[in-house]
């Protein structure tokens, strides 16, 4: 009796369904609720795949921080009413369908060309191994990414800064 595959398919089904609802839902707040559900299922799948750290970061960063900020912005700005939103026409769907087609084709190819690779039985990646790999092996990349984020923050501050009144009168 192996529970893991059953759990995996259950979680995967929840994730796919929640993501589809998140896309088709007209109301932004409902869409966020679905997306958070999807992130949760994804985190649980990561956990099943013996990557507990990734699972936790999925919840802390995506479900807990980014989605909360989205919700904050939506509540502050109140972007229109759900009834006024129109369902996208065929033209809007085309790029999505195109990329979905590519992904599906890649999946089918991958499945068709699959060779039985002996998967190493993972006992789970500990926090220590993860951090060592992240900060020793990919340390430079991490620094570059964090500097990019800093630039983005400074840029956002600059864009959001109020111009001094005297200059705005001049221009």
């Amino acid at each position: 009796m192996n529970l893991l595959p059953i759990l995996f398919y259950l979680l995967a089904a929840v994730m796919v369904a929640a993501t589809i609802f998140a896309i088709t839902e007209k109301h932004p707040v409902h869409a966020i609720a679905y997306l958070v559900t999807s992130f949760f299922a994804l985190a649980a799948i990561f956990y099943l795949l013996a990557a507990p750290l990734v699972a936790m970061f999925e919840v802390i960063i995506y479900a807990g921080a980014i989605m909360v900020l989205f919700m904050f912005v939506i509540m502050m700005l109140d972007p229109g009413h759900a009834d006024e939103a129109r369902r996208p026409g065929l033209l809007h769907w085309l790029p999505a369908l195109f990329f979905a087609g590519i992904i599906l084709a890649a999946l089918v190819m991958g499945a068709a060309l699959r060779q039985a690779v002996p998967v190493p039985i993972s006992t789970g990646l500990g926090v220590k191994e993860f951090s060592l790999a992240l900060f020793r092996r990919y340390g430079v990349a991490i620094e570059i990414i964090s500097m990019q984020l800093l630039f983005a923050v400074v840029g956002a501050l600059y864009l959001g800064k109020k111009r001094s009144p005297s200059r705005s009168e001049d221009s």
Partner: protein, 330 residues
Amino acid sequence: MTMVPLHILAALLKVSVILVAILTLAAYMVFAERRLLAWIQDRKGPNRVGPFGLLQPLADLIKLLAKEDFCPPAGDKWLFYLAPAMAAIPAIVTFALVPVGAPVDLFGTVVDLQIVDLNVGLLLFLALSSIAVYGVALGGWASNSKYALLGSIRGLAQLISYELSMGLSLVPVVMLARSVRLSEIVSAQAGVWFIVYQPLAFLIFLLSILAECKRIPFDLPEAEGELVAGFHTEYSGMRFGLFFVGEYINIIVLGGLASTFFLGGWHGPLLPPVVWFTLKTLSFAFLFIWLRGTLPRLRYDQLMHLGWKLLTPLALVNILVTAWWLYLKG
């Protein structure tokens, strides 16, 4: 063959015992808070139901269950009904991580007095506390009322801000314990409690959990003087009760975690470990009630300044200093 069902049985038993214990404790926290506040303010408090008013929580429960479960017609039904659960469940689940006592020897097998001992325990706590925001946010938004919405926007901003300083204040703890597993954090404090090495981190953590619980002086999301009852203005009956009890469960859980991270968990002389743990946790609860009876509410900008301009930078500096200290110590 028989090992696995026994294991599951033991886990189920632990879950049910702890669930019943914290729900009862939360109900009596409400009572204790009313009595203590009354004592602080020189009143009597609820003392009519049963001896010393001890059956008051039961009476409250019956009252809440008997009330009409009302959803505002303009509200968002689905999210309105879901939000109280979203507020209470993360708080209850977090308690699964807390080691409440030393492992005991039961019929030849060693049983941890902790439901799960994850190798990412501390991170799961941070994850669950970041999820608890949704109950407040969605509940206020789904009520479709301006007071509730204002309350939940405040709640969102407050919880995000203080989560940051809370997480950062725990980094030195992880550095000292060299683990994010809660049982190892506790056993690392067998000699000296972390509060001795990290008084600043403890203070930051204490203020942050006070804000995470939405308690006075940080109860901006429900500031009754200006927002009626904030994010749960429109709630009635047991759904309001769920928000309410969730808040008290949160106090117990965060108190338990604070004693786990800084006060040595269940370590202590003479008394049995479970008693030590309960004492430490309840003293946090008492502190929270005491603060409520003593302090006025902060203004919104003061709250944000405290979080972003004082606690977060201090926590960062503290991490740096701790890192240097550990580095020099070798």
